[in-house]
């Protein structure tokens, strides 16, 4: 479904060339849970941005169902991210002036997601807090709203960039379990430096210094 073909992400930092990702070959298959594991600075997040079309590779290509993300116009790539991808980031980013329900409905404004959003918030244990503003929710609750937003449009791939980084262990485990449990047929690509968060994954890709150092198939 997603193929990274020798994809590299290179940038300059104070005159020094940094290879955040270096000639990465990787395939994400439909429905699988892929964990990308590595220490800080190993290029995990950069790889996630390449796979999700948030960044264009400096060299190589990333294909989604055979289409080169780097060749798409901003509009087309944005539409793809909205319709086919879901995102959960390190921090529980929500719009502060919108309620939990409205934040979930942001997933796709072209569809009426109200009912779906209410169901998801209910499944995630937030049925009593749909009208609350983000500042009225705990950190764990906010991240669960972000999970609901990522799941709302029934994405084909969910990208989670260290979604547990801002949470305690128990809340972190719960968030990962919720993502895994409610993703349906969608694939889940999760970046983390904590191997305990990948216990339910199908495959773990080990990353170091911008390159893949090994893959570990867990269960299929």
């Amino acid at each position: 479904m997603i193929q990274s073909l020798q994809a590299s992400l290179v940038y300059e930092d104070h005159g020094k060339e940094i290879r955040a990702c270096d000639a990465i070959d990787l395939e994400i298959r439909p429905g699988e849970f892929v964990g990308i594991l590595g220490p800080s600075g190993s290029g995990k997040s950069s790889l996630l941005y390449l796979l999700s079309g948030l960044k264009n590779p400096t060299f190589g290509a990333v294909l989604f169902e055979g289409r080169d993300l780097g060749q798409m116009a901003d509009d087309e790539r944005s539409r793809l991210r909205m319709e086919a991808f879901g995102f959960v980031f390190q921090q529980p980013y929500l719009l502060g002036y919108l309620s939990a329900l409205e934040n979930v409905m942001l997933a796709d404004p072209s569809r009426n997601l109200r009912q779906r959003a209410l169901e998801l918030l209910d499944l995630l244990g937030l049925s009593e807090k749909t009208g609350r503003l983000p500042h009225e929710l705990s950190g764990g609750e906010r991240q669960r709203v972000c999970v609901a937003r990522a799941l709302a449009s029934r994405p084909r791939v969910i990208f989670a960039d260290e979604p547990t980084a801002a949470l305690d262990h128990a809340n972190g485990v719960q968030v990962v379990q919720l993502l895994d449990a409610h993703r349906g047929d969608g694939a889940l690509v999760m970046v983390t430096h904590d191997p305990t968060m990948l216990e339910g994954s199908d495959r773990i890709v080990h990353l170091a210094e911008g390159t893949i150092h090994g893959e570990e198939t867990r269960q299929m």
């Binding site: 948030l54 944005s78 980031f89 390190q90």
Partner: protein
Amino acid sequence: MFGSPLNPLVYLVRNAAKSVPMVGVIALAVMLIAWIVALMNSIPDSVKAVYSYSQYSLGVTPRGDPAMTPKLVETFRNECPVPIERIIVCRGSSAVVRSIVGEWPFVVLAFNQDDMDYFLDKHFVTGIEGRKPTVGRPEALISEPVARNLRLKIGDVLLGPDKSDDYSPQEVRIVGIAKTSEWMMLTDLEYHKANHFPPIDVFLVLAKDRATQAELDDWALERFKGDRAKLFAYRELEESTNEMFATLYQILNVVIVTLVAVIALMIGMLMNIYQSQRLVEFGLLQCIGYARKVLLKRSLKEALWVTVAGWASGVLIAHAMLRIAYAVLMEPRAWALNTMDPKAFAYTLVVPVAIFAVGSFTVLNRFRKFDPVSIVERRLV
């Protein structure tokens, strides 16, 4: 209430602490400009209102030789191509009225009883509180605007020996107030002839209506050019008033352009600050699939709402304030002030246009340089 959570009004209403001050600044700027222009316009409007009576007559005085008057009258009677309804030979003396910018000269016309009746009728007098001046007596009839302007009532002295600008050798007391919107001060011709100097007959030439009066005035201004007659036509008054205020309006334009530039830059800076505070929002939305142009359009719609709301509020406040100013300051002195002055409100249009232009530039500039990944990577937060 607003449909989509990203309806521009959702942000503006739920962040009233940010949007209301911006609307307020724009409203104040609009109000200030409307006020300045309307009050400025009130001066020439007042000039035209005070001397409005001259729309219905052409005043003629001889130059250098009082004996010219009968000859001039004959010339009118014989040569004027526009039908003349009446020629009133009368006398005049000077007085002053009060304006927003000081005292203005005004004429006290002295008529015989028959001409006075005609003149009152011609100037839409619907009634008289009190009575008309008696023949040969030091008495005056003034109109309502004059009474309000000079705060005079029946029994008060209009002209007198102690008044240098409103002089008469005897105290001329007000015996009547004419109900009309036209400004007028009238005394009896016999009294005037017996007490005022110089003894020069002047005359008014009156056509049937305003349209034919204008034709008559135009003919006379051309016919008597270089002649020994001074003509007082409404058209000349209008032209000289407009000319007099042309320079003032040029200065006003510079002031308004400067004010608009300052306000637009200030709002631009405010918008820049508010955009900076919303980088997380824009970054997040772009990352989850909102195209740059969709977000740009939304930001521009917000800017448009703010400017339109600010302008509309400013216009409403300005109108309300002008009504108050008219009721408290202007109307009691019979000064003109158009609370719905289209020119004043047209001047304010430049405010939303300039602010929207600066605001749009600010937003466009922000989005041009913006990298949404920097937000989710926490490089910018």
